[in-house]
Amino acid sequence: MTKTLRNALLGAAFGLALAAGPAGAATIKVGVVAPFSGPFGVVGKSFKEAIEVYQAEHGKTVGNDTVEFVYKDLDQANPAQSKALSQELIVKEKVSFLAGYFFTPDALAVAPLIDEANIPCVIFNAATSAITEKSPRYVRTSFTLWQNTVPLAEHMAKQGIRKAVSAVSDYGPGIDGEAAFKTTFEKNGGAVVDSIRMPLKSADFAPFMQRIKDSGAEAVYAFLPAGPATLAFAKAFNDTGLRAAGIKFFGPGDLTQEPDLPALGDAATGITTSFNYSRAHDSAMNKAFVARHKEMFGSYDTVTFTSVGAYDGTHVIYQMIKNAGGGRIDGAKAVESVKGMSWESPRGPLTIDPDSRHVTQTIYLRTVEKVDGKLENVEKQSFPKQPDYGYKLAK
């Protein structure tokens, strides 16, 4: 009895000594909060795969430190749960970084936590401009609706379109898109003849199509959450003859994200969108990224904008660890060290804007076309160095 007790004590002491370990060879943990199950599970999957691709390319160690990712499932927008999970990651798992966050409220929920714990939070997706204003420890590697919409509205005005109508889902991002579109399009001499807000859960879009037709607009700017709603909207647009009548269809690229394209089918062809990443982006780095993905996971069907968000976010985290030079990670200093950082990503050149801590990037104008029997967003034009136009714009 005493012997087992002594052994156990010895074992515990040994374990503790191991855990403490020699200085400079620590394990740096990164907590990733994202949807890994449920209807948005594909997002978490793309995050995880992109992180694994990055680690396969760049190794799991930085200097003497091993980088370990800890995943927490948050299957839907639930800020209270997001905060509880992040708190657990900080207090129990002792993570040095938080990352992930698909929905805006989930990302906003952790602002007080990361300030108090002095931990950097790298947002892989959540796209409302105001997030990075809430804490100086947020860095974001995705996009914002303003960033995608402003170049699109300018492009539409340049095409000679004078009368346009906006049709958006009636929730935060939709209203952001509507505001960004109206401001930019009218500044460039166009007129927004009608601003339509559609209930988030509507499935029948025929009445809205009638309003678009009645407004006499030459083009429509549409934003809906990706998935069935977009599908129904695009189908209604074709079926009610708006497409045949020559009304042009524009929108941010969320509408035609890669995993949804097979479901959208031919209804999607010809839709022009603006976005920060297309799987069909023509660069050696992107081809290598997609090929590596296929090699590791058997297919590249899940590669989309959330993949590059996570891939580049992982790159930023690695850079922060490098900058700390093996020392303890100080959140404020780590964020400071990546301000103004520029690098080449599968989506093109990126720079972290020192003020907004959001990536300044090239936004591409794309059209949905069939490439080798598969629908892809084919890039037609690029607008380099687009910042987040929405930063500090809202009250």
């Binding site: 639930n78 207090v91 129990k92």
Partner: protein, 341 residues
């Protein structure tokens, strides 16, 4: 959906008839100090899991409010989150604009939740069964849509953030380790349990139980079943509102999900799991469901949902009256042995 909502009744009815009232009273008396003791023990034993424990305490208060309407009033509802969400938003709006004292927030939440429950209850409680179930869902959807539309006040789908509650009694700050949050939530839960116990044992509570058993007889002896139910619904709304406010205090943010249908449904699952009509069944069910959810999701964040399903099926098959009924059966078994010996 009805089958889930109404199944507990036949299970609890024989139970309440066969168990002598004295035995039930004893168990109920022990329940509350036990919750407090277990809660405090968890504070010392699991100092790294306070975030989860805080959520369990706040959710348990919400499930308790559902137990009041379903377990004691027999009101089948899938819209209890309407009151929870209203309470959370009311507390958040008060904190952001006027006063961020945690007790003021709780009061605002309780008031708002109670008001919404009284108004909607008076409108919908003439219905029973499936119709009522649908009406409660509709109320939930309306509250959620109002919160989505009133972006200036609620932040819409971005959530109402920036809630920074003042220290409790001016002394205990809400820190990131969640110590204050947890003890505060536990204290509110224990207080809620005491008040709820007082209510269900009062003449009013007994009358509500009478309505659940036989509304016709209550009318026959001169009572108005509907007004009893509306009052009970309002009281439960106060509980749900306080639970929502408690979540706003401890998490610092309120999202649209807090008034959503999935939250109502999940609360119902937790209640059925724990056992209806017992008060502490709500606490047991919430702790069991969220605790197991947490362990499974942490060990396998990708496939945990399947295991939760298996667990629920197991409980429904082997303990149809909920986990609490299992304890009661065990107690009865032990007592039976003693008597024989």
């Amino acid at each position: 959906m009805t089958s889930v909502a109404e199944r507990p009744d036949p299970m609890t009815d024989p139970m309440s008839r066969h168990t002598p009232p004295a035995a039930r009273r004893d168990l109920g008396w022990i329940g509350i100090p036990l919750v407090a003791a277990v809660g405090l023990a968890a504070y010392w034993l699991l100092p790294d899991d306070l975030a989860l424990l805080t959520r369990i305490a706040a959710s348990a208060l919400f499930v308790l409010s559902l137990d009041l309407v379903l377990g004691y009033g027999g009101i089948a509802t899938l819209g209890q989150a309407a009151m929870f969400g209203t309470g959370a938003y009311a507390a958040g709006i008060v904190a952001v604009n006027w006063n961020s004292d945690p007790f003021v927030m709780l009061a605002a939440g309780g008031l708002a939740g109670g008001l919404v429950a009284l108004v909607t209850g008076a409108l919908i409680l003439h219905a029973r069964g499936l119709t009522l179930l649908m009406l409660t869902i509709a109320v939930g959807q309306i509250v959620q849509e109002v919160a989505n539309k009133a972006r200036d006040w609620t932040g819409g789908s971005d959530g109402l953030s920036g809630i920074d509650p003042a220290p409790v009694l001016g002394l205990f700050r809400f820190d990131m380790f969640g110590r204050t949050s947890y003890l505060f939530a536990l204290a509110v839960l224990v207080a809620g349990l005491m008040v709820a116990r007082r209510i269900v044992r009062s003449p009013f509570g007994l009358a509500c139980r009478g309505v659940r058993e036989d509304p016709l007889r209550i009318s026959a002896i001169g009572g108005s079943p509907k007004s009893y139910l509306v009052a009970l619904y309002g009281v439960a709304g106060v509980f749900a509102g306080v639970a929502g406010a408690l979540t706003a205090v401890t998490s610092g943010i309120v999202g649209l999900d807090s008034a959503g249908f999935p939250w109502s449904a999940e609360a119902l699952v937790m209640l059925v799991l724990g056992g209806t009509g017992r008060l502490y069944g709500a606490v047991i069910g919430t702790a069991a469901f969220m605790g197991i959810h947490h362990v499974l999701a942490a060990s396998d964040p990708f496939h945990w949902m399947g295991f939760i399903g298996l667990f629920l099926i197991g409980i429904v098959l082997f303990l149809p009256g909920g986990i609490a009924s299992g304890f009661e059966r065990l107690g009865a078994l032990l007592r039976g042995k003693e008597n024989r010996a």
